[in-house]
Structures are given as structure tokens and as C-alpha cells.
């Protein structure tokens, strides 16, 4: 990377959209980490009669059809949604980079086998694979959900990384690194991977958005995060019958999804610009 990870962040910070993305993500992450214990839901007991109440001082985001505080649920849901998206994307980036690096650097029959496997996997719709994998459980453990989302998301990443490696493989600086007697692992991690980091970061940011939306869809089908545990996707879809009578039940979790996906994308753009030292 550029000197250090801190240097990279400093450069991204100088970019207004990077600053916005970082700040928004920091607020979301802090809220998800610190707020839940402070936000004891004053209307935690389900109360179907009271139903959804509009935003007020006691409930700044209003309450849902079971009279649960939406602010508390958005914050708690963020904890789950962000953790699931972050971990799943990290997992798929890790697996995708590894497969792509090996296929691109080693080449030959290993490359052929790996890439034909990826072709086959890409030909099957992701949602279909996820549904098949998830029906095994009656109540899906969170870890299994992350594992399934992560291991079905790396195919495109591996193609991307392989393409970058093939592009960079015969660059003189890779040849020069090998000519200096550097170990293959060092050549890969220091000279190939950082130069492929731009496209990878974009893939990661798009992946975070994808996974948040995918998890919302799964929750709707009863195959994602199980109620009563809140998740943003689940909340939006729970709010479906109330969208006209109590729009706040959909607006706040929906806004949380939009803000998160937007800030991750802005941060991704800024990081990509910061990674290119010529843009300084």
C-alpha cells in the first residue's frame, strides 16, 4: 500500500466524498457498537392495540406495528446488517483474491481448472445457490448466513483479480522483483496485489451494497436474519402493509440502507483515487 494504511486513509480523507463516506460510516459503526445498551426500547412489550405510532419525543423514529421503538431497532439492526455485510464481503474478497492470484500467477492447468469452475459457478444465479444452501437449517445461525453469503460472492472477484494479475504479471517491475531474488509470496503481496487494489476496492464496496440488499431479500423470504432479531431489510419488508398509513416504519430503515451503501461507495471511490499516487 502507500507507505502505510494510515497514509492511505489520510489521502482519502482529503477528498470530500471520501470524508463524507468515512464520517457517515464512522457514525453508523459507532452507533451500532455503542448505542444498543443506551437505547432500551421503552415500548419493548409488543402492543398490537397501540400499533404504529408516529415519531415523537419518546420515539424519535416512531414505533412499528408491534409498538417497538424504530430507532432502537434500526441501531440494533445496523449492528447485524453491517456485521453480516462486512464479514461476508471480507470473506469473499479473501477467497476471490486468493483464487485469482493463484490462477493468474501460476497459470497453466491450475488456471484452467479454477476459471472453468468459476465460469460454472457464475452461470448459476446466486440467490438460487443461497436458497439451496440455507434450506438445510430450520433457524439459520448468523455464522452460517455470513458463510453462505461470503462463499457465493467471490466468483466475479476472482476473475477480476486474475485479470489484474495477468495484466501486471509481465510488467517490468514484476520481472525486476523476481530478478532481485524476491520470494514469490513477497512479489505477489507487495508488487501485484497493491497494484490490483483499486478494482478490488470497487468490487468490495459494490459487494457491501449487494450483500445488504441480498440479506434484506433473504429476510423477506424467512431465510435471512430471523425475527425478532431486527435487520434493516427485514424491517423495510415488515413495513410493507403500513407503507401508506405509517410511512416512517419503512423510511428510517430504508434510509439506513441508502446512507450505508452510498457512503461505502463514496469511500470506495476516494480510496481508489488515493491509491493512485499520481493523483496527489
Amino acid at each position: 500500500m502507500i507507505g502505510s494504511f494510515g497514509e492511505l486513509l489520510r489521502r482519502a480523507w482529503r477528498n470530500p466524498s471520501g470524508r463524507f463516506g468515512m464520517l457517515a460510516l464512522a457514525v453508523l459503526a459507532l452507533a451500532a457498537l455503542l448505542a444498543p445498551p443506551l437505547l432500551k426500547d421503552p415500548a419493548a412489550m409488543p402492543d398490537v392495540v397501540a400499533g404504529a405510532t408516529a415519531p415523537s419525543l419518546a420515539h424519535p423514529f416512531g414505533t412499528d406495528q408491534l409498538n417497538r421503538d424504530i430507532l432502537a431497532r434500526v441501531v440494533n439492526g445496523g449492528r447485524i446488517s453491517l456485521a453480516v455485510a462486512g464479514l461476508a464481503v471480507l470473506l469473499s474478497l479473501g477467497v476471490g483474491s486468493l483464487v485469482g492470484l493463484v490462477a493468474g500467477y501460476v497459470g497453466g492447468w491450475l488456471d484452467a481448472v479454477l476459471m472453468r469452475t468459476v465460469d460454472a459457478a457464475l452461470a448459476i444465479p446466486r440467490l438460487f445457490v443461497i436458497l439451496l444452501l440455507l434450506v438445510v437449517w430450520e433457524r439459520i445461525p448468523l455464522g452460517a448466513l455470513i458463510l453462505v453469503l461470503g462463499t457465493t460472492g467471490w466468483f466475479a472477484t476472482s476473475r477480476l483479480v486474475r485479470g489484474e494479475v495477468l495484466r501486471l504479471r509481465h510488467e517490468p517491475f514484476v520481472l525486476a522483483a523476481e530478478g532481485l531474488g524476491m520470494r514469490a509470496r513477497r512479489t505477489i503481496t507487495r508488487h501485484l496485489l497493491p497494484n490490483a487494489a483499486g478494482p478490488l476496492l470497487v468490487a468490495a464496496t459494490l459487494g457491501v451494497g449487494d450483500v445488504i440488499l441480498l440479506e434484506a431479500g433473504l429476510s423477506f423470504l424467512g431465510l435471512g436474519i430471523q425475527p425478532p432479531t431486527p435487520s434493516w431489510g427485514g424491517m423495510v419488508l415488515d413495513a410493507r402493509p403500513l407503507i401508506v398509513s405509517a410511512p416512517w416504519t419503512a423510511i428510517f430503515p430504508g434510509a439506513a440502507i441508502v446512507v450505508t451503501v452510498l457512503s461505502v461507495n463514496l469511500l470506495g471511490d476516494a480510496l481508489q483515487a488515493a491509491l493512485d499516487p499520481r493523483s496527489a
Partner: protein
Amino acid sequence: MTLLLEIRDLTIRFPAARGGTSVPVSHVNLSIMRGETLALVGESGSGKSLTGLALLGLVPPPGLVDPASSIRLDDQEITTLRGEALRAIRGRRIGIVFQDALTSLTPVLTVGSQLREAITAHRRMSAAAARAAAIALLGEAGLPDPAGSFAAYPHELSGGQRQRALIAIALAGEPDLLIADEATTALDVTIQAQVLETLDRLRTSRGMAVLLITHDLGIVAGRADRVAVMYAGQIVEEAATPRLFAAPAHPYTRALFRAIPRLESAADELTPIPGSVPLPDEWNPGCRFQPRCSEALPRCVTLEPPVVPLAPGENSRCWLPARDAR
């Protein structure tokens, strides 16, 4: 002088498109003494760079070094080395400087971190010691502000400075042989002279040998001890530099000299060599230079010319009888 590196019968093959093989380097014999500068001169496509890469086991796939080839570095056969043993040669015993310094440096790392990496690839030392050694090397390579260059990214340096940084990186392993593969070709003439001067100073102070791969006979004069002229994958003439310049034996070498502009002769006396270097699959069975040779004999078409010894360590691959007083 003692022998450092001996290349015997170096042949490199590439599988060609339609099932055949192309042989861009065939039966090359060369030896390099400790501390000397050997120039390997040839046009593009003559196989000179590939020969240099073969010394480091860096022939790009699908190219293969023929198993009958031998490259001995101080009595150690290095064509068969793999893995750790090969890594111990690269950078440590034989260093290389490529033509294009901008693309030879990783754009996302500072010059200093790449240099430090080259130092620690072969020697264990603390980060602070490596930094000090790196800055010392940059100074030795003639960079005006070593500490500043250490912190700079490759694109922040000028072409000459980048080439010097690349030389510093190649020197990091303290190699016995430095391959300069068109290392100054991309620079303008004055900077080129300075960088070559620096290379020569480093060669003397470190007692290392230099293999100067170039297409430019002009930079060979006064710098190389000996010259090997390469054409279409073969060494066609090998000679001590003064003899080569005074009396080139091979028609190709003579043609090369006629193609160099000289101050004392008029511009219209410049004679280009007609045609271009044939591709490896277009070589005729006889002399490979014959189609472009003004002195070719009938037998040159079908019969491969002999390597005629002219003096110890000097020879010419030609059918023409060696002329004595040229």
C-alpha cells in the same frame, strides 16, 4: 583475471504457433571475467535481452532453455537451479537493470521501500539499518538528494534519477555481475553518459563485472573491455574492443559501423543495412546474415559458416577468409 561466468551452447526455444519451435537464441558461447565489462551488441530481435534474462532464469514462459545448455557461475551450474537456490543467485550474485526505469519500479511503493526490500531480500537487518544502507546506496548511485529520493515515488523522480535508483536497487544484493539491459537507452545523451560513468565507477569500486546489453556501438567504445556482436540469435563476432573498432572482422559488424554517423564524414556517406533482422522462423540454413550481406558467397545460402578463431577469445562466424590488415 579469473573467470566469473561461462555460457556454453545456450539455446532458448519457444513453441511456435503451428506446432513448430522457434529458437531466438541458439548455441551462444560467452565468458565473462571478474571485474570486466562485456558488451553484448545487436539489433532488436537479435536475442541479446533474452540471453541476459536466461542468466537469471527469467526466460518468459512458454520459452525454455535447452537442457544441453550450460551457464556456470564460479563452477556452479545455474540453468538447472530452481526455487530457493535460484533465488540465492538472483540479485545476490547477478543483478539486472532494465531499460525502462518507470515501469521497472512498482508505481505504488516509494523508491526507498523498494530499495529496502531489495536489501532485506538477501540480508537480515533491522529496519533502521536497512534504511541507512538504502540511503547510502542511493548516494553511491549518484542521486543528488539520497534522503529525498528515498521518500519519493518513482513518478516524482526524473528519468535519469529513476535509472540511478534502479541501479541502486540492483546493487543492493552486492552482485558479482550486473546486467545492464539497454539501461541507458531511454535517457538523453548527456544523462546517458553520466549514468554510464556512474556504472563504470561502481564497477571499479566494487570489482563487479558488467554485461552491457545495447544496440548502440557508440556507448561501447571506451567502456567495454570486450564486445560480442549478436545477430539473429547467434554470436557473429567476439573481440577485444580496440580490435573490433579498428578492424571489424564480420561483414555484419562492418555494416553496423558504416551505419553510425561520424563527425569526420559527410552525412550522405551513412549506409543503412538493407532489410531487418529476420524472425526466428525465417532463418535460412546457411548464414543468417546472408540475405542482407553485401559480401555474401554462393555457399553462404546453404552452408552454416564456421566460427573462425582470430586470436585467443576472438572469433568471427563467417565464410570469408579472415583479412589480416584491414
